[in-house]
């Protein structure tokens, strides 16, 4: 899942970037409103973490322009402004969620995952397919009683294909959602990831839920 963090505190940027990456998100981080708006418009993010007090362009104004431009990106406002009116204003302008600082990192991750599920219209965090049991809330994949050990990227590929169930996802789209803009990964990396994923899932003694549509991409039916 690809997340954009728009936050001017460099220290918070660093910890959020590391924490979200380690939680399986592809993360882009920007430090001001203008740059944040440019990224948000063109980045194809699954969710945006938005601070309100930003230099150059406030978070509220950024959100207003984003919505005025027709963007339906899921936005979570992360702000030290904790007044009810401020939260209402943010939500009325089109934010999908509001979290006040200081916050629990675990809660932020849980809310982001809920936002992503909402984006792909998947209410349940649990999926069953080809004997696999995938809990997107706990990021745990099991077959029967046995847990399938996946790396964060492998898990992210599987989760994304599940969320896009029934639709072909090409390699570029997978790349976009797996790696930040600044990432250097190529389509080969996707192929390697899919290969490793299939190996681990198949190695667990069950069927492979991932179908390959040659020249088009991958699909989970």
């Amino acid at each position: 899942m690809k997340i954009l963090v728009i936050e001017d505190s460099e220290r918070l940027q660093r910890s959020l970037e590391l924490g979200l990456q380690r939680s399986g998100f592809a993360v882009d981080v920007v430090g001001d409103g203008e740059e944040g708006l440019a990224y948000a418009k063109h980045g194809g993010y699954d969710a945006i973490v938005l601070d309100l007090m930003l230099p150059k362009l406030s978070g509220i104004e950024l959100l207003r322009r984003l919505r005025a431009g027709g963007s339906d990106a899921h936005v979570l406002i992360l702000s030290a402004k904790d007044q009810v009116e401020q939260r209402i204003q943010g939500l009325q302008l089109g934010a999908d969620d509001y979290l006040t600082k200081p916050f629990s990192f675990e809660e932020l991750v849980a809310r982001l995952r809920a936002l992503v599920r909402r984006k792909y219209q998947s209410k349940s965090p649990v999926h069953r397919i080809e004997g696999l049991h995938i809990d997107t809330a706990r990021r745990v994949v099991t077959r029967g009683e046995k847990e399938v050990a996946l790396t964060p990227h492998e898990y992210s590929v599987l989760e994304y294909l599940l969320l896009r169930r029934g639709r072909v996802v090409n390699k570029q789209e997978l790349l976009d959602h797996l790696y930040p803009v600044a990432g250097q990964a190529s389509e080969n990396a996707v192929e390697v990831l899919i290969h490793q994923l299939r190996k681990k899932i198949g190695g667990a003694g069950g069927g492979d839920p991932i179908r390959t549509r040659r020249g088009h991409g991958y699909l989970v039916e």
Binding site: S15, L54, K56, S58, F105
Partner: protein
């Protein structure tokens, strides 16, 4: 506690009662005296009538009185009486109804003016009498009295004064009765007028009573305030406005403090949570933790300094403050940061300039002003610090470009945590710099002024007394 209403009521009640009662008593007194005079005139008229009927002929005194001539002397009930005496007091004749055992009060004297007396008769009735003395008219030739050998006569005429007393009593009740009613009416009127006159005060009191910390935006509204109360209402509303502003400042300040601390706490918590879960990747976070601690330490230190300055308890050690040295020290601390922005710091302060100040506190002021200038000026710009002597004063000016600043922002520059940009300023800024400058300048009795040139040049001017 004094009550204006009670005092007014008591004073007005006493005044009105005294006025009406006094006027009534005075009128009653005048009328009673007039009635008594009238009574006396009537009595004297009767005496004169008798005098006219009294004649002398050949040494004999005759009273030409016929029954029915003066009926007052003959009536049964409380008749008038008269009594003639010779000038030596011997009785001559008396009215028919005057008992032989009774005498009207008299004196053996021959006054020119009539003498009025009062006294009870044997019947118990109080009679008012008039005594006149005269020489009876002569029926013979008009000779002098001595030659005629005629003696004088004393005539006393008396009338029961009961009718006069009744009249006076009647007049008293005729006047004092309505006066008492008038007093009651006047008191009622006074009560209504006092209540009506004090109603605006009651209204103000009611409205003020409803004010509390939750509705300080309310104002005392008295659309038809009397001219005496209009300035009070105006001043009260002005006071409420100042109070509301102070409350808002206080709340804003508290909110800002919480906000300023919430940001580093938030950073610290996230750093700790992430570092706790992925410790192998978080070695660099320790530097951030130290920076956060330093930032919070500075916020707290600045807040304490600000609070001490505002409370006037920050210790001041006045002595000569070498301006050049202080400015150079401030600049050297900021030169690297200015160079990072491609900006420069220019100092135009003479070596020998010194101000009567507290050098340590002045260094904080100058340091904060310079830091503010470096932080908020655009890149590639010049920050100028100059000092000039003007008479007994030294004026220190720090100016820099501040394109984002508007003239209306100047009044808020000294407000704690006020920022033109809603976003955080670069690291290390607590948002208290200019608030501390303002508070310290006040504490040191220096004058600080912030101005903005039309071309966007911001000037902070500090006026100090020269130490020389």
């Amino acid at each position: 506690m004094h009550s204006i209403r009670r005092r007014l009521m008591i004073a007005l009640a006493i005044g009105v009662t005294a006025l009406i009662a006094g006027a009534g008593l005075y009128a009653q007194g005048i009328l009673a005296r007039r009635a008594a005079e009238q009574f006396d005139e009537t009595l004297l008229g009767k005496a004169r009538a008798l005098f006219a009927l009294t004649e002398e002929e050949e040494g004999k005194i005759e009273l030409d009185y016929k029954p029915g001539f003066l009926p007052g002397f003959e009536r049964e009930d409380r008749p008038d009486h008269f009594q003639y005496r010779l000038d030596d007091g011997r009785p001559l004749v008396r009215s028919p109804r005057l008992a032989p055992t009774e005498d009207l009060p008299h004196s053996v004297e021959f006054p020119a003016e009539p003498i009025f007396r009062e006294g009870p008769l044997a019947s118990g009735a109080t009679y008012r009498t008039v005594q006149i003395a005269f020489v009876p008219r002569s029926k013979g030739p008009l000779l002098p009295d001595r030659e005629r050998g005629v003696r004088g006569v004393i005539l006393v005429v008396g009338s029961d004064r009961a009718p006069l007393d009744r009249l006076i009593a009647q007049m008293r009740w005729t006047i004092l009765g309505p006066a008492a009613a008038a007093i009651l009416l006047a008191l009622l009127l006074v009560w209504r007028m006092v209540a009506s006159g004090l109603r605006p005060l009651d209204e103000i009191s009611r409205q003020v009573g409803r004010l509390d910390a939750e509705n300080l935006g309310a104002r005392v509204a008295l659309p038809r305030a009397p001219s005496e109360l209009a300035p009070i209402v105006h001043q009260l509303n002005a006071l409420l406005t100042r109070l509301e502003e102070a409350f808002h400042r206080e709340r804003r300040f508290t909110g800002n403090v919480a906000h300023e601390l919430r940001t580093p706490i938030s950073e610290l918590r996230t750093l700790a949570e992430v570092a706790g879960r992925w410790p192998e990747d978080s070695a660099t976070f320790y530097g951030d933790v130290v920076a956060i601690a330093s930032q919070m330490e500075r916020i707290v230190a600045d807040l304490l300094l600000l609070a001490r300055c505002q409370a006037g308890v920050e210790r001041v050690e006045p002595r000569a403050a070498p301006l050049r040295q202080i400015v150079e020290a401030g600049c050297s601390r900021l030169r690297d940061r200015a160079q990072e922005k491609g900006s420069s710091l220019r100092v135009e302060v003479a070596e020998d300039l010194a101000a009567a100040s507290d050098p340590d506190k002045l260094a904080i002021i100058v340091g904060n002003l310079l830091e503010n200038a470096v932080c908020h000026s655009p890149s590639q710009s010049e920050i100028r610090c100059a000092a000039t002597r003007e008479g007994p004063l030294v004026r220190l000016e720090i100016c820099n470009r501040a394109a984002a600043l508007a003239p209306e922002d100047l009044a808020r520059l000294g407000e704690p945590f006020w920022r033109k940009d809603d976003a955080r300023t670069p690291l290390g800024h607590s948002g208290l710099g200019l608030a501390i400058v303002t508070a310290l300048a006040k504490l040191l009795r220096h004058e600080i002024a912030f101005t903005l040139d039309p071309d966007g040049t911001f000037r902070a001017r500090l006026s100090l007394l020269s130490s020389s």
